[in-house]
């Protein structure tokens, strides 16, 4: 199951002259992956958090599956959206199984059902349940933590998954491995995914659509192909060149 996400003229402002997302409109069709890219501080994380209402917009509309979600129950909304952050954001005082099963416990699932689903998800992200179920986050490598974070986001089979630089802190080899797994999961699960990254090759590799932002505004929204072939402005051209040709990984991480 997946749902369409629609933002229409969404603005987030922290006061006069502190508008961090301005009049952003976009439609992400169900089952597609949108990669948001742009320099540090351009509003990527803010845009992501606007979707699960960790940040409430100053103005504009947000629809998911055609339904206005700004007026509904925010807790129910968040439980229907998977959320992955850098390093996984795992709770250090909960085991892998407890972290992964968290949302199901919030939803008051039967313990056996939780356990079964946890194992299923650990296998899905290539972690042997027998070995990892009872470990604690401190006992995992960065890549393993990130897998657990993904498994946790998928626990309640949400139609939408939001990921904020999930692979940002990993070494290049692990990162490429996880990217490939992401592509496999994406094919298998068919979720609607919004994926924030500051790494241009990653965005082009993973995204069906790319949103290039600058200073809180949309610079261009399109397929990777469209961005390369039909850049909307010289800013887009410069951005792509600066990042792909000269320094593909040069942007400082902006957690």
């Amino acid at each position: 199951m997946s749902l369409e996400i629609e933002l229409s003229k969404v603005t987030k402002s922290y006061g006069p002259g502190k508008t961090v997302v301005r009049e952003l409109s976009l439609v992400l069709p169900a089952g597609k992956t949108l990669c948001i890219i742009g320099t540090s501080g351009c509003g990527k994380t803010t845009t992501l958090k606007l979707i699960n209402r960790l940040i409430e917009p100053t103005s504009g509309e947000l629809r998911i599956g055609g339904r206005d979600v700004l007026s509904g129950d925010v807790i129910a909304l968040r439980r229907s959206i998977g959320y992955v952050i850098q390093e996984g954001g795992l709770f250090p005082h909960m085991s892998v199984a407890q972290n992964v099963g968290l949302v199901a416990r919030l939803l008051a699932w039967e313990p056996e059902r939780v356990a079964r689903r946890v194992d299923e998800l650990l296998e899905l992200v290539n972690l042997d349940p027998g070995e990892y179920r009872h470990r604690y986050p401190e006992e995992l490598s960065g890549g393993q933590r990130q897998r657990v974070g993904v498994a946790r986001a998928l626990m309640a089979d949400p139609p939408i998954v939001l990921m904020d630089e999930p692979f940002g802190a990993l070494d290049p080899i692990t990162r490429i491995g996880l990217q490939n797994e992401f592509l496999r999961l994406k094919r298998e699960l068919g979720k609607t995914i919004v994926f924030v990254t500051h790494d241009l090759p990653e965005a082009f590799k993973l995204g069906d659509l790319i949103l290039l932002m600058h200073a809180g505004e949309l610079m261009q929204l399109g397929t990777p192909h469209e961005l390369l072939r039909k850049p909307a402005s010289s800013f887009v051209t410069d951005f792509l060149q600066a990042h792909t040709i000269h320094d593909p990984q040069g942007d400082a991480p902006d957690a």
Binding site: L54, R78, I81, Y83, I85, H93, L106, Y136
Partner: protein, 521 residues
């Protein structure tokens, strides 16, 4: 989360089990005896206790030493003690604040009239001796300066350091009145515990001290008592003051105590004081021996322990039951205070973490309470809550509050914001974020606060003895009053051990309660 809750409940039950209910006030057939914090008062208190037990068949509760005349008087007014020995002159000048007159009978009459008319107290027959205030200096110094009276001292006083009790500095029948009458001015005035002044004088640390006529150490230290040549000091006859209600309920107690009226001469009192201060006798032994010699009490059983305390450990062993009781009371008052402080401090710390703009002001207010010297805070409690366990627990509660509130606040604020975002992003309600993420992660810091509170409180609680709450401070202050290191140590050592044990125990509890971050492998 359920696990954490279970653990908290478990800890609560454990603390509750360790803290049996605070004993209730005086019951029928029981009498609560108070006395001030110096040797003579403790001997008189023991005499009253023996007379109540043997003469009137009452069950006796000893609430002494209490921290001074005013605390005793407040306590008897509030009905928290039933009887204590006062002195005519003290009652007149320090308590009733009436003009000072030199005549014994006149003083006794005005005190009796006021106590019985205004306060519902009955004043029994005074004892014979007059424990008047004096000024003393070493005999050698007095001779060298040829000083015999207070008037003689006036020209030398400007170069002298006066060491005296806190009460003497304040009381109208103490230094202020003395200055008015004689125009005497000292270079410096230092307030000391009554147990320490003579020693300081003998060792030359002070030049002059206030003295009590009946104090055996005047002779022992070879001191010169200065003549009160202008008859400034009123007479100070010991005076049993009893709540009228008790006199009505237990006429036998009145009879027993009145038999003491007119007895105990200056010399007899001086000998008894000396026997306790320097003769290695306990106040109880001395009191019993005197009463027995007058046929007012049974003689001590022959061959029974004559505890001229040989060694510290033997002394402790002798009083193990008494000390164990005090330890239990000590644990009880600190335990209840810390438990209450946790029950209040934890929610308050959580509230502050939700409204951090309130935190600086709130923490500052609690901090100010913390800076009030403990003795002063206990003193404040007496007019409000009387004496005994309740005001002590309340004062200790106020002390325990700051570490718990502050650690709860900083513990919760210290939780990684990324984790809070993750928790909210996964759809936790505010309550779930608090109980499943913030509190478990802040628990070690919170427990460290509880631990700090407890350890500080076990030390501070020794002061609670001064307002009649009992506990291990009782032997400490009795020991200071009687200048007996064994008695002091018999309270101080268990108190220190208790603090160490509590620290270790709570450290283990802290570890047990800390959320696990590693698998058992």
């Amino acid at each position: 989360m359920r696990e954490t809750l279970q653990r908290l409940v478990w800890v609560g039950l454990l603390v509750a089990a360790l803290t049996p209910a605070v004993s209730a006030g005086p019951a029928a057939g029981r009498i609560v005896i108070g006395a001030k914090n110096f040797t003579e008062q403790i001997i008189l208190g023991e005499m009253l206790a023996i007379l109540a037990e043997e003469g009137a068949g009452l069950e006796v509760v000893k609430k002494f030493p209490l921290g001074g005349s005013h605390i005793c008087f407040e306590a008897i007014k509030k009905g928290e003690i039933d009887v204590y020995p006062e002195y005519t002159g003290t009652a007149l000048a320090a308590i009733l604040k009436l003009p000072i007159v030199p005549d014994r009978v006149a003083v006794y009459k005005s005190v009796k009239e006021a106590f019985e008319g205004q306060y519902g107290l009955t004043v029994l027959k005074p004892l014979d001796f007059n424990n008047t205030y004096t000024l003393t200096l070493t005999a050698a110094r007095a001779k060298a300066l040829s000083v015999k009276s207070i008037t003689d001292l006036v020209p030398h006083a400007r170069e002298m350091l006066l060491g005296c009790t806190h009460e003497f500095v304040e009381r109208p029948d103490g230094l202020p009145g003395l200055q008015k009458t004689y125009g005497i001015e000292f270079r410096e005035v230092k307030a000391l515990d009554p147990g320490l002044t003579y020693k300081a004088l003998a060792e030359g640390k002070i030049d002059v001290c206030d003295g009590y006529m009946t104090d055996g150490r005047i002779k022992a230290y070879n001191l010169q008592v200065l003549d009160d040549d202008r008859r400034f000091f009123p007479p100070y006859q010991a005076l049993p003051v009893v709540r009228t209600e008790i006199v009505r309920k237990h006429p036998k107690f009145r009879e027993a105590v009145e038999r003491l009226g007119g007895l105990v001469t200056d010399e007899e009192m001086r000998e008894m004081n000396y026997a306790v201060d320097d003769g290695g006798k306990t106040a109880e032994e001395v009191a019993r021996a005197y009463l027995a010699s007058k046929g007012l009490a049974r003689h001590p059983i022959a061959g029974a322990k004559v505890s001229s305390h040989s060694g510290f450990l033997a002394y402790m062993w002798d009083r193990r039951a008494y000390l164990a009781g005090l330890t239990a009371v000590h644990l009880q008052i600190t335990g209840i205070a810390v438990l209450l402080a946790s029950l209040v401090g934890l929610p308050f710390g959580i509230l502050l973490s939700r409204k951090p703009q309130m935190a600086p002001a709130s923490l500052m207010i609690i901090n100010v309470v913390q800076t009030i010297p403990s003795l002063a805070l206990l003193g404040f409690m007496v007019p409000l809550l009387g004496i005994g366990a309740v005001p002590a627990i309340f004062a200790l509660f106020l002390y325990a509050l700051l570490p718990i509130v502050r650690n709860t606040f900083t513990g919760i604020r210290g939780v990684d914001v990324a984790l809070l975002e993750a928790a909210r992003g996964l759809g936790m309600t505010d309550r779930q974020v608090l109980f499943m993420v913030e509190l478990p992660l802040a628990l070690p810091v919170i427990m460290a606060g509880v631990r700090t509170s407890t350890v500080i409180n076990i030390g501070t609680a020794t002061l609670a003895a001064l307002i009649g709450a009992g506990g291990l401070g009782e032997p400490i202050f009795r020991g200071i009053a009687m200048v007996d290191p064994n008695v002091i140590l018999s309270g101080a050592v268990p108190a220190a051990l208790l603090a160490v044990a509590a620290d270790l125990l709570l450290a283990r509890l802290e570890m047990a309660l800390a959320p696990r971050r590693r698998s058992k492998r």
